[in-house]
């Protein structure tokens, strides 16, 4: 266990002095800008809970539909980037660490970066709420569930992207494909059949549970989502581990 912590610390060190840290606050800042611009005037909403629902739905549209899936891809590609350049896998895998541990460490770094992004997003929501003078006296659980759930929804995607990034020595190619598969989110959202099973749409769908709960109950519930998320995560994760353990370096 202690050696695993050291391994994660080593992975983190590699990310120092890199632009990846600038990407973490990018989307939350954009969401904050959108949140500040939201106008409640044209709607007849007085209840704080409903106001938050509207605020979050506006702020999370780009964030969960585009940025989260794309950032997940970038983070996953980034933790493999330095190993692909200049034979790093060879050096890393001759150190006394199991491939499974290394894969987990890389995944944890990706997950932490996504978690930080979500944390900042939550901060942005609070800031925007305070700016509009909405009372903080609301039910926080659904919002936190939505933000946490959409973090979880990124994990299958992260597992899939990590698999692609580990196997593909190119940095840009997995990213381009990831972006290409993220764009259809705009359309997929309207299909109740495909959306729950499209990995790139999951972060958005989980985030929507918050606003939808407050408006109507027709959208998939968060517990339904979690089953799909857990299932797809397990498949991608197992495939990635299996592949990485057999990879010839």
């Amino acid at each position: 266990m202690k050696s695993f912590v050291r391994l994660v610390a080593s992975e983190r060190l590699k990310l120092s002095k890199s632009f990846i840290w600038l990407l973490v606050p990018l989307s939350p800042l954009l969401a904050l800008a959108i949140g500040l611009l939201v106008s409640f005037d044209s709607y007849d909403i007085s209840e704080s809970q409903a106001k938050y629902a509207m605020l979050v739905s506006a702020m999370s549209s780009f964030h969960s539909m585009l940025f989260l899936p794309i950032l997940t891809g970038i983070f996953s590609a980034f933790v493999c980037r330095y190993e692909h350049g200049s034979g790093g896998w060879k050096q890393l895998l001759t150190l006394p660490i199991s491939r499974t541990a290394l894969y987990c460490a890389k995944f944890i770094v990706v997950a932490t970066l996504i978690a930080l992004t979500q944390l900042l997003f939550f901060g942005a929501v609070c800031l925007a709420g305070a700016y509009h003078g909405i009372s903080f006296d609301i039910e926080w659980a659904p919002l936190l569930m939505a933000i946490g759930g959409s973090f979880l929804a990124c994990l299958p995607l992260a597992a899939l992207q990590l698999l692609v990034s580990v196997s593909w020595s190119s940095f840009a190619a997995p990213l381009a494909i990831n972006v290409m598969l993220t764009i259809p989110n705009i359309l997929v959202l309207n299909s109740a059949k495909i959306a729950p099973f499209y990995p790139w749409a999951q972060p958005m769908l989980t985030m929507l549970t918050f606003s939808n709960d407050s408006f109507n109950g027709s959208a998939p519930t968060i517990s339904n989502m979690l089953i799909t998320i857990a299932g797809s995560f397990f498949v991608f994760w197992a495939a990635g581990l299996l592949y990485f353990n057999r990879k010839e370096v």
Partner: protein, 304 residues
């Protein structure tokens, strides 16, 4: 009694039906410097990758420190420092941070970083991002990384690649000291015999994936001792005479070549020939350089 630090049995690696390494039986003794030689594409790197568990052998087994590599991989790797092909580095990090990333995994004291940087002569450049390093400096950093964990076994794949002559000399001196000062066993690959000639105790020569020579450097020298060439008035008759006396010789044009070069044999042979009234024009020693011998071993049986 000999305890092999590395022992492989029938080690083979097949790529698409073609053997890159085939049936390799390496034996490397503790405290030895083993020069692993072979021309480009002979299979040196492939072998080292198998020894480090980076790729799985198609056939055969690897034992290191007396333990099976596929069973005790991590505990074996902890005791090995390696540099495979070209050095790996994180370009955006300084030399210190590059070593720190490895140190965190190996869990050695922080002071060890300064030590290894000093050993490879990079102490002054330690704080610069490595992407600005020259090839030789990166190579030195690679060697520093290999030394970081106080290994008992060093595997260096062409470690002097890209080094200037003084760098080559430094690394050679450094490698020479390893067994003496720290009891470290070293496996060093190269395509030049001259590079390991002065350091190695044992050499293994690999050609097209097969080990064609494995012995001490003294025995290699012995083989390279050369031959005695004799010009005489009637070579055919002289050959028959030598055969009668049980001396092995080969006719080469009009001269006679003797592989055996010990003094008694030569003296006996000359005496016999003179007794039979042969005129001896010349007795010459033809010296083969070690490099010639290496090229000959490597070149033998070359398929088109």
């Amino acid at each position: 009694m000999n305890e092999w630090v590395i022992e492989t049995k029938g080690l083979s690696k097949r790529y698409k039906g073609r053997y890159a390494v085939s049936n390799l039986n390496l034996k490397i003794a503790r405290g030895d410097i083993y020069g692993f030689l072979g021309p480009n594409g002979a299979g040196k790197t492939t072998t080292i990758r198998m020894l480090l568990g980076l790729i799985k052998p198609s056939n055969g087994s690897v034992h290191i420190f007396g333990k099976a590599l596929n069973k005790d991989k991590l505990s074996i790797l902890r005791r090995i420092g390696s540099l495979v092909e070209y050095p790996s580095y994180y370009g955006h990090l300084s030399a210190v941070d590059n070593l720190e990333a490895i140190r965190r995994i190996l869990d050695v004291p922080t002071a060890r970083i300064a030590e290894v940087l000093d050993i490879v002569g990079l102490a002054k450049e330690a704080r610069r991002p490595v992407k600005g390093f020259s090839l030789g400096m990166k190579q030195r950093l690679g060697i520093a990384s290999a030394l970081l964990g106080n290994p008992e076994l060093l595997m260096l794949d062409e470690p002097t690649n890209g080094l200037d002559p003084s760098g080559i000399l430094e690394i050679r001196e450094l490698i020479k000291q390893m067994p003496k000062q720290h009891g470290i066993t070293v496996l060093i690959s190269s395509h030049l015999l001259s590079e390991v000639e002065l350091t190695a105790g044992t050499v293994g020569i690999i050609r097209q994936g097969e080990l064609v020579f494995q012995d001490t450097i003294e025995n290699l020298h012995q083989q390279a001792k050369g031959s005695i060439s004799l010009s005489v008035s009637e070579p055919e008759l002289a050959m028959t005479l030598l055969k009668e006396h049980g001396i092995n010789a080969i006719m080469n044009d009009s001269s006679i070549l003797l592989e055996q070069t010990n003094n008694e044999t030569i003296a006996r042979m000359v005496k016999r020939l003179v007794e039979r009234d042969h005129s001896i024009y010349r007795v010459e020693e033809k010296r083969k350089s070690l490099e010639d011998l290496f090229l000959q071993i490597v070149g033998e049986g070359k398929r088109a």
